[in-house]
């Protein structure tokens, strides 16, 4: 492991990579050089021997021919000067050695065959070289035509050459080769180490820099040193580091921005959550408050035998139920607005008529609070317009309701003007100005946000879900306008909005929506109309049956979709009220089946508490003419019925007494009113004013609940005046009210 680790560095590997082949190369070269040197030295030795023996043989011709031993000795000694030559011997043709010079072992040559002598041979650490000595004749005749005779063999000479010098030279050669190889290896190792270090050190530096960068310090710069590739690598790392650094800066900036945004969003979310929590709390409170009243008074109603108290309980239950319904309607409206589900009608309407009704609704409340309600409409505002009067007046009604609600003294002024007109399109500017407590400036921007009220105390004081202004804003936007608010704390507020409407062509009559208030004056009936009420909830079923029966309709009931289908199949029906969510077969399927099984199926009006557009669309796709939301509004229901019944010939007759007027016997109502008036008389006669205001309030509630507006105005007038009138006048005013009740009831 240690060895592996030791040789895992690039420096070690470079050294190994360069030194290993170099060492092998040195060894091979040294071996080759030593071997080659041996061959060369041996060749040199042989060459020396050959030259010496040739020299002797060529020079010895004369001496041997003349048998001049002194000359032979001279010739022989001349080659003994050559260091390697140890001795030589001359032989004559008889193989007798004439002359031996130096140290020469004749026995060695004697033992050799003559053929072996031709080549040099080695014996006893000596090389022996042989050469014949011949006498070559010269033809020195100018015109010689004869054949030149063969050279005459005179004898031979053998030279012995020692290999000591060769061995010495070889040893020196080996030493030199080894020294040179070692030196070469050392130099190569030194160069390899230098080169390796020049590569590894920058790499180590780079690695260290990268490690540091990896640890998070991107401010370092890798030194651009070493070979070109490493410089490029370092440059690349530096560029990368710079990029990462810049990226980090950008990222930090982005994160900071995102964090800030997130914090803002979080705050907004928290605000929204808080608003929603507050809304839920308010809703809980707002829903529970009337529910508590409904539940409580319902129990009291069951236990109460006194007719007057029962009427009082019923009135309170009715009011609480209306409050609940209003609140739920607001929520539904808001839900629709959020889902973009507003569908604006495009019908002609008389703005004066609708505004008069609106003022009539809110007038009593304003009066009740001692406020003056002013209304002005510019002359340039056309009377007949095309648009959605319900939504238009809904916005004004909401603003007006708020204005009345938040104004303790002074008044509320409604102004409508036309600020732009082009062709048949106009833009109306409507404002509702009050002299109320005003709105804090910082609350104004969130005033139109859902679930927001200026403060929670408002809810507690004035009620409401905080959705009204949000719904208004959505409605105004849907009508192509915008809503604004201008307020001064302690002085009042001005809510204004614009909306786009169209001018109605006087020659053409577009479908008009009847003012619901007008219905009360229309005496119509559903007499002779057979209605199937398909509703699984028995209470709702009973309520609807009683309501329609009051209009003269003949009602059949079905507890589920299957029953509805069977009845529709068996009996003639003029119209079907179909609940969507029913057991066995739901309303959508039943509707679809009825439409399909009968070519001339009766019109179907769907009833549902589900406000989703999906369900509405499904129901309409199944064949329903329209859809009404629960709880069923009587006016809407009757209007819808008259709309889908072609043979009805006009608007159905309304009882003109509100919802309870259809379910509460007239005698009971009359008795309740009379009881209240009797109480008033008693109070006035006994000069007891303690419960006087409460009794007046009850009368106002009953008259309002029963839709007796004239009676209600009389009571309200009395409430305003009774403090300033004497007892007799007050009693006469009570009598006047009693007479009015008598006349109203009997008519």
């Amino acid at each position: 492991m240690a060895a592996n680790k030791r040789f895992s560095s690039i420096h070690s590997r470079l050294l190994i990579t360069s030194l290993l082949p170099l060492t092998l190369l040195c060894m091979v070269l040294a071996s080759y050089m030593i071997s080659n040197q041996r061959v060369v030295l041996l060749a040199n030795l042989k060459n020396i021997g050959s030259i010496a023996v040739q020299q002797v043989s060529s020079n010895a011709e004369f001496a041997l021919y003349s048998n001049n031993q002194a000359m032979l000795r001279d010739i022989g000694e001349s080659v003994l000067d050559i260091p390697s030559v140890k001795g030589l011997a001359f032989y004559n043709l008889n193989q007798d050695s004439n002359v031996t010079i130096g140290s020469f072992d004749l026995s060695v040559v004697k033992g050799q065959e003559e053929d072996n002598l031709i080549k040099p041979f080695y014996a006893d650490n000596l090389w022996y070289f042989y050469a014949p000595i011949t006498g070559e004749d010269l033809s020195l005749l100018d015109y010689d035509e004869g054949i030149t005779p063969e050279p005459e063999m005179l004898g031979w000479v053998v030279v012995s050459v020692t290999d000591e010098i060769l061995m010495e030279q070889r040893r020196e050669g080996i030493f030199a080769v080894l020294v040179v190889s070692t030196l070469g290896l050392l130099i190569a190792a030194w160069i390899a180490m230098r080169i390796g270090r020049s590569i590894s050190r920058p790499l180590e530096n780079l690695t260290e820099t990268v490690d540091t960068m990896e640890a998070g310090n991107l401010n370092l710069f890798a030194p651009e040193e070493g070979p070109m590739e490493l410089r490029k690598l370092a440059s690349g790392i530096n560029q990368l580091s710079t990029s990462v650094r810049q990226y980090n800066v950008r990222m930090q900036s982005e994160v900071a921005r995102a964090t800030a945004q997130l914090q803002i969003t979080l705050i907004e979310l928290e605000d929204a959550m808080e608003a929603q929590d507050q809304f839920l709390a308010r809703m809980s409170h707002e829903l529970r408050t009337p529910l508590t009243a409904v539940i409580g008074f319902s129990k009291l109603l069951a236990a109460e035998s006194d007719a007057r108290k029962r009427e009082e309980s019923l009135r309170i239950i009715s009011m609480s139920s209306n409050m609940l319904l209003t609140m739920i309607d607001d929520i539904l409206e808001f839900s629709k607005a959020r889902a973009g589900g507003f569908t604006l009608e495009k019908v002609s309407f008389n703005i004066d008529s609708w505004m008069a009704d609106l003022l009539a609704i809110h007038g009593p409340r304003a009066e009740e609070r001692g406020l003056i309600l002013n209304y002005s409409i510019d002359e340039n505002v056309p009377k007949l317009l095309i648009g959605d009067p319900v939504r238009f007046t809904q916005v004004i009604s909401n603003l007006l309701s708020n204005a009345v609600k938040f104004t303790d003294r002074g008044g509320v002024t409604i102004t409508i003007s036309c600020i732009a007109a082009e062709d048949k399109n106009i833009v109306l500017h409507c404002s509702v100005e009050d002299t109320g407590k005003g709105i804090k400036e910082e609350k104004i921007p969130v005033l139109f946000d859902p679930f927001s009220q200026e403060d929670t105390s408002i809810n507690r004081r004035f009620g409401g879900a905080g959705l009204g202004l949000s719904i208004c804003k959505s409605l105004v936007q849907a009508m192509g306008g915008e809503i604004k608010v201008r307020s001064m704390l302690g002085h009042g507020s001005v809510f204004s909005f614009t909306c786009q409407l169209a001018l109605a062509d006087k020659d053409k009559t577009l479908p008009q929506i009847a003012n619901p208030l007008e219905l009360r004056d229309v005496k119509k009936t559903l007499a002779g109309v057979t209605v199937l009420v398909a509703e699984d909830n028995p209470f709702n079923q009973k309520l609807i049956v009683r309501l329609l029966s009051a209009y003269g309709a003949k009602c059949l009931t079905a507890d589920n979709g299957l029953e509805a289908i069977k009845i529709a199949e068996e009996l003639h029906l003029d119209v079907i009220l179909m609940d969507i969510h029913m057991p066995v077969i739901d309303g959508i399927t039943a509707c679809e089946t009825i439409v399909q099984q009968s070519g001339d199926s009766p019109p179907i009006i769907a009833l549902t508490a589900d406000v989703t557009l999906t369900e509405e669309n499904s129901m309409k796709k199944a064949g329903a003419e329209m859809m009404l939301l629960k709880p069923v509004d009587e006016d809407k229901l009757i209007r819808s019925l008259t709309k889908v019944l072609p043979q009805s010939g006009g608007q159905p007759e309304s009882s003109g007494m509100g919802l309870l007027s259809t379910v509460v016997p007239v005698d009971e109502l009359k008795n309740a009113l009379y009881e209240s008036l009797d109480k008033l008389d008693d109070q006035l006669n006994n000069s007891e004013n303690a419960s006087l205001r409460g009794i007046i309030h009850d009368l106002m509630g009953l008259s309002g609940l029963y839709g007796m507006s004239e009676l209600r105005e009389l009571v309200m007038q009395f409430r305003a005046d009774y403090g300033s009138l004497n007892a007799e006048d007050n009693l006469s005013r009570v009598e006047e009210i009693r007479q009015h009740i008598k006349g109203f009831v009997f008519d």
Binding site: F62, Y65, S66, D137, S139, L141, D142, Y143, E145
Partner: protein, 319 residues
Amino acid sequence: MKPVRRSAKYWLASLFLLIFACSYAIADRKSSILFVASKPSADYVEVLNSVKQQLEILSPERYEFNTVFRSSEPELKADLAAADFIVTIGTAAADTVFSNRPKAPILSVLITENAFSALTEKHYGSTDAAFAAQVSSICLDQPVMRSIRLAKFLVPESSGVGVMLGPASAHRQAELSKYITDSALQPKFVSINAKDNPINKIEPVLSRSDVFIPISDSRLINIATAKWILHLSYRYKVPVIAFSKSYLKAGALAAIYSAPEDVAKDTVDWLMEPARAKVGSLNKPTHYSLNFNRSVAANLKIKLQTEQFYRDRINLEAR
């Protein structure tokens, strides 16, 4: 009788005209010279061409030439039979021609005296018989006297002159001795036989001589001794005056020899005297060449004059 006379006169006149015509024809006929050379080497061709050219110059239209080199015998025989004169160039050519014993006179050139003698004995029985058969020769052997005179001029301080004789030249020792002595020099003769050790025989003489003159002998003796003479000459610093150009090149100080142009001149001289062909003879060359090995002279520290200088001296001495 008168017609008879006229007829005789007519016949005599006709005979006269016939004889005249024949003699004219004979007198106008060119002499045919057949050149037979041993080989077509440069020296031989040079001799051949030089002879032809000189003859053409000296006697234009007189000779016609036929040249053959040693070829097949039948053709040669025809040529030999057709030739008026035969000139053999080289020993082998002489051997071939002599073996055919043609009737035409023969002149052998480029042959040593010893070779000529040997061939005539071989083919004619004796040299005289050959002479009788109109066989003549101009031998290559220059007169030894020229060498002796040259030796005297080259090495004026010399006293002893070594002379090597072989079996073929041994008989000339007395003659040579006289020449040398007449030249105020001391002759030192050494005779070599084929079985002698040349060194052992020559060295004692040569080492004691101031100048050494080998006499051309048989080929065997010449070859066997030349190397050792030159070796000893070098060893003992004794100048050698040789008889061939090859000898000179091999290490002799000087040489008097018959160059191809000398042979050609002698041949032409001989051919221009037709009478000489009627009787065979052995003739010494008249013309010669003289050359030095100046490297040897430098080693021997001998200052040389021009060749012409010595030639003039030799010629002057000869007169």
